[in-house]
Every structure is written in C-alpha cells, then in structure tokens.
C-alpha cells in the first residue's frame, strides 16, 4: 500500500532517539508486530531511496503508527526536520511480522535502536496474556530508548550498559540465562534485534534452554516489496549445492529463525 500519513507528534526521546507519531488508519489497522514501513519525507533528489523503519507501536484504535528512530545520516536528519501537521509518504505494512505463541513466555533482547520493533511485539504479547521478559542494552542508561513503554508491558525489564553502570555491561544473553536458570522462568520464544552478537549467542542457547530464537534483520533496502532483490541475507538450505539460498529481508523476513541465518 502506498499512502500518505500525517505527522501528529514528533519528539526527542533522548540525545540519539526520536519518536514520530503518524496518523495512517489503514496501515494501523492492517499492520502486525515485526512489520515495517518504507518512509519518504523529503523532496531533495540526492536521497533516491525511501528508508525502512520498524513499527514501534501500532495503534489501530487511534489509527496511528509510532516510529522510534535514531539519526544516522541524511534521510533520518530530514525526517527529524519534519513537523507535526506535515505529510510523509509510506509504503506498507511490509514484511512478514512475527508469530506469537498461544501461551507461555517470550523474551525480547534489544541492543540500542534494535529495541524499536521489539516494543510492538511486546505489546501484542502482553495483550494476549503472555509473559514478556525484556532485556535492553546500550552505551549508557540514557541511550536506552522506550524504557517507559517496555515497563508497561513487560513482566520484567533487565538492562545492561556498556559503561558498566548497570549490570556491569554484561551481554544480554547471559542475563537471559540468569533469568532462566537462577529465577527458573521458562522462555518459549526469543526475539532479538540490533546486534549480530546477541543473535549468535542465542543460537547456541536454543537447544540447552529449549526455546526458539528469532532475529529481526536489517539490510539496505531499495523497494521494500520484493522487487529489487537487493536486501538479501544468506539462509541455510541443504537442498542447494552451495548449502544456502539468498532470502529477501523485506519479503521473506525481516524475522528469521537464528538457526537458519548464515552470518
């Protein structure tokens, strides 16, 4: 779907992150957690591609989408300049999104802005009555975005900061291990985003702790709808001579079982 959306709010969350709230009823109605949109919010022709952003929160009743983003380069800088009332162009909702279990507990492991898609997943899990255990890390505490929102839907939010202030900067996978072993919480599904290291760490834990882990991948995207074949990742496939196939993150993803991804 290619539509316009109206910015209804736009605020700084911390020095690095901003939250933009866009009114777009159709997408808000159709979108599922784990999906993303392609956004264009500029006229300048030197930026030729729209940019992919995860849905941080999906609010069908209000007809609103929330995007949590980090200013990285020219496109995110342009987005940061847009004011409430202005329009943006959106392609979406895109990608497959996640499938949640009927019952049980899920864990969310997010590094930095990788927290963005996890919020929508956590919120959906919460309203389904699942237990949501959230683990977030960043360089320092005030760079962990969305803390308030996660605290609302999570059973427990565990943090770790590289400066060592919180949890001695330990890797989130170890903190998850603590939760399972020390606190005896059974986790059925894990979602992670924002760090290759976390995803790899989860892969080696799956067997031992009997959960399935999914990673939300990022690749540079041109179309977001499967046309350009640009956003591929390597996925294991024993049926091919090479032992892998390329899958499009925008179409077959962005959610992949960590056990299938070749890094």
């Amino acid at each position: 779907m290619y539509v316009k959306g109206k910015i209804v709010d736009h605020k700084q969350v911390d020095v690095e992150h901003r939250l933009i709230i866009i009114e777009q009823e159709e997408i808000a109605r159709q979108a599922r957690p784990g999906q993303f949109i392609m956004l264009r919010a500029w006229e300048r022709r030197d930026i030729v591609l729209p940019r992919p952003f995860s849905l941080y929160r999906i609010l069908p009743e209000k007809g609103q989408l929330q995007i949590l983003y980090k200013i990285r380069g020219k496109a995110t800088m342009e987005i940061a300049n847009r004011k409430p009332g202005e329009e943006v162009a959106i392609i979406g909702p895109l990608g497959r999104g996640v499938t949640l279990p009927e019952r049980g507990n899920i864990a969310l492991l997010g590094r930095g802005i990788g927290a963005a898609p996890l919020m929508a997943i956590g919120e959906a899990a919460y309203s389904r009555g699942l237990g949501v255990y959230t683990f977030l890390s960043a360089k320092k505490k005030d760079l962990i975005p969305g803390l308030n929102d996660f605290e609302r839907v999570a059973q427990k939010v565990t943090l770790s900061t590289d400066d060592g202030e919180i949890n001695e900067g330990r890797l989130l996978t170890f903190l998850l291990e603590d939760l399972i072993t020390a606190e005896g919480v059974e986790i059925n599904i894990v979602f992670t985003c924002g760090s290759r290291r976390l995803a790899k760490g989860l892969y080696s834990m799956e067997q031992k702790y009997n959960f399935t882990a999914y990673v939300l991948l990022e690749e540079i995207m041109a179309c977001g709808i499967g046309s350009c074949k640009g956003c591929v990742c390597k996925v294991k496939n024993p049926d091919t001579p090479e032992g892998f196939v390329y899958k499009r993150v925008c179409q077959e993803g962005p959610v992949f079982p960590v056990s299938e991804v070749i890094w």
Binding site: R40, A222, C231
Partner: protein
C-alpha cells in the same frame, strides 16, 4: 480539445498503450504489492530471466550515492523453466504488452531462454540484456560491437518475436554498438543500462558492495543516458526506448524529444510506486496543453 493519443506501434506487432514502462528488474507484478493495476502501463518488462537458476551476488547488493543507486544484484533468476511455470502465467493476465527481459553470459544462454519461450503465447517481445556489469569477467558482448553482432545474429535465428537489444552505456561510442546491433537483427534498442561504479566504506576500508562493482542508476546518470539516446536516435532508423534516471514527466519528455519512442522507469519506482502513472499523466497533459495530437508528434522534437 480531443484527448491526445498516447498509444503507438513500435514495430509491427508491438503496440504500446502509452510510452511508459518499467525498467527490467525494478518492478514486480502480482506479489500483491502493486500500487496500481499493471495493465495501465505501456508494457510490462520482466526482471531478466536466465537459462538456469542463479543465486545472484553476495550482499550487500545496494548502496545509495548522491542522486544515484549502486546495485550489484547480479541477475538472480529462477531460471527459464521455473519462470514459465510460476511467473509467466501471472504476467499474462495483464492487459498490456508483455516484454520478457533475457540475460545471459553467452549466446547459448540467450538461445536457450528464447527457444524455450517461443512456444509460449502472450509474449510481445524480448529485451536482451547484454549489458549487465555484474556478471564477472566473461566476454564483453555488451561493449564490443563485433561480439554483440555475432551473438545477436545467432539469437535472431531462434526468435520470431521482436528483439529489443538493451545497450550498455559503458562504451566509448554507443552509435557503433547501435549500428551493429541493428545490422545484426535488432528491431528496437533500449538505451541505456547502468554505468559501472563503486563505493568504498572508509571506516571498514573496503568496497561497500559484496561484488565490489555495481551498476549506477537514478537521476545521477540521466544526462549521460539522454546523450546516448540522442546519439543512437541519430545513428539508426529503428525505434529507441530511453532509460536512465527518469523521475518525472519532464525527464521522460526530454528523452522523447531526444528521439526515444518510449521510456522505461527504474530507480524512481522505489521512492514513489505511483511514479509511472504520474509520468503517463504528465505526458498526456503536456501534449494537450501544447496542442500535440499524439506522442509521435514530439518524438525527436529537440533535434529539429
């Protein structure tokens, strides 16, 4: 005033509803993501089909440059057999000309694909992609006029349908390529493909693309593609389809006034999936406002 006529016959048997079509590899049909009905297009052009399945290049495959896009997708293809089984039936249902783009590294590859497609109905023409810069270091069919002519003569023998030859811009004199292609049997020329480029990540200190080199497309290359359309339209008497950096109706009109009978739109589809319809409308408006009855009336107008 009467509505201007947008349709035209490029060559006998190939009638376009209007002069705007997607550039191969930049637009998909049927996966449900269409922003509009593809039947509204002047033609449908498929992603290039190869003889056998191909995985394509290792990622990263894309990189944005100022006003441009580098892609090193590398022509991944399901192969012609799967194309016939899975993809072609879906494409046939649209009510507009279907152009199948064919890629290969050798004449035999092209012959295999076309030989296999000739038995199918509902295909209007083939577009031959000799110019992919992402296919490693094979023979330069796309940049050597004699090799191109040789390949084309062989392919011509198996193809009853019109052959559109898509020329590479990575040459010193595209008029030579155009003349030899025409002599060797091309019915139509598409001018041009991407220009080979690259980018380096100075933080990682290595090329950005998995394939090192990629093809540059988008507004950055428009002046170069337009010049080549101008040159080719002056060098041969067969129809030219212009492509390279077209982002709006004004861009398309430049190509048509340079001598193109139709245009293709690639990179611009990504940022604005409705752009091809907007261009069709923009061309119609221009004709009407300036008192032209049909597209044909402005083809090559800037040359006169």
């Amino acid at each position: 005033m009467k509505k201007p006529e947008l349709s035209g016959e490029l060559v006998p048997g190939l009638i376009l509803k209007n002069p705007v079509m997607p550039a191969s590899g930049t637009y998909d049909y049927g996966e449900g993501a269409n922003a509009f009905d593809p039947s509204l297009l002047g033609a449908i052009v498929t992603k290039s089909v190869a003889a056998s399945p191909r995985a394509g290049n290792a990622p990263p495959r894309l990189y944005e440059t100022p006003c441009g896009l580098l892609n090193a997708v590398g022509i991944p293809s399901e192969g012609v057999d799967a194309f016939k089984r899975h993809t072609l039936p879906g494409l046939k249902k649209y009510d507009t000309a279907l152009i199948v783009s064919v890629a290969g590294e050798t004449p035999a590859d092209f012959i295999k694909v076309i030989g296999s497609l000739e038995e199918e109905e509902g295909i209007a023409a083939y577009e031959l992609n000799f110019s992919c810069p992402n296919l490693g270091d094979g023979m330069p069919y796309g940049t050597d006029p004699e090799l191109l002519a040789l390949a084309l003569k062989k392919i011509r023998k198996v193809a009853a349908r019109p052959l559109i030859v898509k020329l590479s811009p990575n040459v010193a004199d595209i008029r030579l390529m155009a003349r030899r292609a025409r002599e060797a049997g091309a019915d139509i020329l598409t001018v041009a493909n991407t220009l080979t480029g690259m980018a380096i990540d100075i933080r990682k200190r290595k090329p950005v693309l998995g394939n090192i080199f990629g093809g540059l497309s988008g507004p950055a290359i428009k002046p170069i593609a337009l010049r080549m359309v101008w040159e080719v339209a002056g060098a041969v008497d067969i129809p030219v389809i212009g492509v390279g950096g077209i982002t709006n109706a004004a861009d398309a009109l430049e190509f048509i006034m340079a001598g193109a009978r139709a245009v293709q739109v690639g990179t611009a589809n990504f940022a604005n999936p409705m752009v091809m319809l907007e261009i069709i409308e923009g061309i119609a408006d221009y004709l009407q406002e300036n008192g032209f009855a049909k597209v044909e009336d402005i083809v090559g107008l800037a040359r006169k």
